[in-house]
């Protein structure tokens, strides 16, 4: 719904995304539309521990769950490791962009976990391709 509105709308919607899709594409390249799809699907969950630490889990299009950090750019997806870190071809992956967009739109789901569980989430292994 959000993606189709962004593509066809000529008037601002309640979140002011009219005209923003070209800007998103210009800045973030091929990650923009897939990130919007993830937001559309409410794939982003903000995970909070009792001490206030946070992390984000994003359910990817492949059905895998990726972890994005709150305080800096890091994601456990293969694209972040390859395209961002190794090749420096992109500023961030679609999951990190989806986190930012979800934050801006108030579209994050919320989940409270224990300190140990949050530590485990932050230590989640990088996911392989496929």
């Amino acid at each position: 719904h959000l993606t189709s509105c962004s593509r066809g709308a000529s008037e601002g919607d309640q979140k002011g995304f009219s005209g923003d899709l070209p800007r998103l594409k210009f800045i973030f390249g091929p990650s923009a539309v897939p990130a919007l799809d993830l937001v559309d699907q409410r794939s982003v969950t903000r995970v909070v521990s009792p001490s206030g630490r946070t992390a984000y889990q994003v359910l990817g299009s492949s059905g895998k769950l990726y972890t994005c950090y709150s305080s800096c750019h890091f994601c456990t997806c293969p694209a972040f490791g390859f395209t961002v870190l190794q090749k420096s071809e992109s500023l961030l992956c679609k999951h990190i962009l989806a986190v930012y967009l979800s934050q801006a739109m108030g579209a994050c789901q919320e989940l409270t976990v224990s300190e140990e569980q949050l530590t485990s989430i932050l230590l989640a292994e990088e996911e392989d391709e496929g």
């Binding site: 305080s71 800096c72 949050l118």
Partner: protein
């Protein structure tokens, strides 16, 4: 963290400017260059009135420092812990936010020991440290040390994404116990000191040149200096 380093080492050479922006700082140096001693000195800078400091390393240092500036209270605000694995380190970092009195300084020695796993391992380690340093309110200042040459060609470029400030230690060739220190901060003129490690464990610090000495591979990673 750079301010803590300057308190530890004193005023730099005449080319230094007055402002010291705070940023996560990476200390680089080969084996025996004094990375651990420098971290501990930074932790104790300010004497008994300095911030609480948490020093993490895979094992205990061979020698513990004297109290900062001769003030024994400095050691009372220093906490030393030795997580042997990345998982244990993550547990220590996770516990920081839950403390009633979180530390104001977070120091990690032996980064190379904790870089485990795939190509994103250095990034994840750096991200864990940044998360831990920013979770307490107010945020803790972060300083981490890495022995060079690093364990892989991509380690340093990745770590530099997360550590904008860098301190490079370079032993003087042919001169035992003498090390040049060069502090590189974003947007600032590099600053320098000369260290002389004394046999009984003391450390003599004098201002030195902040510019490079023509060494094309200061970080020892086998490629040109990227700093």
């Amino acid at each position: 963290m750079a301010a803590a380093l300057e308190r530890a080492l004193g005023p730099a050479g005449p080319e230094a400017d007055a402002s010291v922006p705070e940023a996560p700082l990476l200390v680089l140096g080969p084996a025996g260059s004094g990375r651990t001693a420098l971290l501990l000195r930074a932790a104790l800078a300010g004497g008994g009135d300095g911030p609480r400091a948490l020093f993490l390393a895979p094992s205990a240092p061979s020698r513990l420092p004297e109290g900062g500036g001769g003030d024994p209270r400095a050691l009372q605000r220093l906490e030393l812990r030795y997580p042997p694995t990345l998982a244990a380190l993550a547990q220590e970092l996770g516990a920081m936010a839950a403390r009633a009195r979180p530390p104001g300084l977070l120091l990690l020695d032996g980064l190379e020991h904790y870089i485990q796993g795939g190509p994103s391992a250095p990034a994840r380690l750096a991200a864990l440290l940044l998360e831990a340093s920013r979770a307490p309110r107010p945020p803790a200042r972060l300083l981490a040390a890495l022995r060079v040459p690093p364990p892989g060609p991509r380690v340093l470029p990745v770590l530099r994404r997360y550590f904008p400030a860098e301190c490079r230690l370079r032993p003087l060739p042919g001169v035992p116990l003498r090390v040049n220190v060069r502090l590189v901060l974003p947007g600032s003129v590099p600053r320098g000191w000369r260290l002389r490690f004394e046999p009984h464990g003391g450390l003599n610090v004098t201002p030195g040149p902040g510019d490079g000495d023509g060494d094309e591979d200061e970080d020892g990673d086998g490629s040109g200096d990227e700093g």
